[in-house]
Symmetry: C2
Subunit: 222 residues, 2 copies
Amino acid sequence: MRILYHFWISPACRKVRLALNEKGLKYELVVEKDWERRDGFLALNPASEVPVLEDENGAVLADSQAIVEYLEETYEDVPLLPKDPSLKAEARRLIAWFDRKFQTEVTDNLVEEKLMKRLMRAGTPNTAAIRAGHHNIHYHLDYISYLTERRSWLAGDEFSLADIAAAAQLSAVDYLGDVPWEQHPTAKIWYSRIKSRPTFRPLLADNLPGMPAPKHYADLDF
Amino acid sequence: MRILYHFWISPACRKVRLALNEKGLKYELVVEKDWERRDGFLALNPASEVPVLEDENGAVLADSQAIVEYLEETYEDVPLLPKDPSLKAEARRLIAWFDRKFQTEVTDNLVEEKLMKRLMRAGTPNTAAIRAGHHNIHYHLDYISYLTERRSWLAGDEFSLADIAAAAQLSAVDYLGDVPWEQHPTAKIWYSRIKSRPTFRPLLADNLPGMPAPKHYADLDF
């Protein structure tokens, strides 16, 4: 059986779940609180970071980008990257943009401060960081609008891992109700196209007891 | 002509230079102070981050991993990743380890604080961060020793982009004289094998006026 060690709100884990779903690959989800540094999990990934994928063939894979590149090479029926090397580089540039830049400038400031600190009992939220996150998200939504005014999807004509990486980040922030969709109608149209894909539905069903998602989170007509 | 926009001490740029050198590809280096956010550079990479590669065919590529994956797919004569998808995933896991984890835990604390802040006139070094960098580097050198006691190179039998990513980070910290090689003899042997490759030599010639490298930096018998 294929197993994904994950934590539900983690954008890196959401990215891998979406890639697996798009490729039609079945897997079991195991919740891992990676900050607890469980011995059995450290043996799978010495960085003690979710996601970790144990594939059916026994391969153990860590790092969200290493995992999706592996899936891309191993399960080719539903490609999630363009074939042409330059177009593929453009998709990978955008994946890195969302995995790293959006994560640092927005998600760390909002999801880490408002939700993870509470879950991990790791102190009180830093209000300056939260303010920075609210400020920075506009710039990223503008960039999504800019790209989708010129292309069908973020990296080009086809839906790709770039859309998946961006949607994985935004869905985590959207769980907090912190995405100002109304001010970014073009980005909202792009997100609603992704949200209505059947592969996205399991993410919309995620719910944290005691900290439920806002009503619009799972609503396809938000 | 192929052009690499770079900044000499940046590990991400050093990683791309090493990959280009290993593949025997010629290129011109253009120094870019990306923190100045020059308009012409923003047009090449809206993230305003080095490295950016302009390939001979006119393709413009940003993000160090997107660039080296592109080089791997486009110039196949000297492969720098294993062929097998699981082994390739292991190499990519380690690349991410050094690109992200080492960068955050060590390089940001030492190179950013001690050298970049001075260059960018961005305030005084944070002594707590520097202390953390000195503390964390031991853990990473132990991990390099652990891996190379079991494998010829970091990711397996062959020299790969994992070795390049690790050496790129360590070479930047070594420019400050902040790598405690004597306490990590196995990691030192691995680094001396990389340092003696002809492809590494241009990095050892880098020098900042007014802040010269320590004597051992360019010394193959350090």
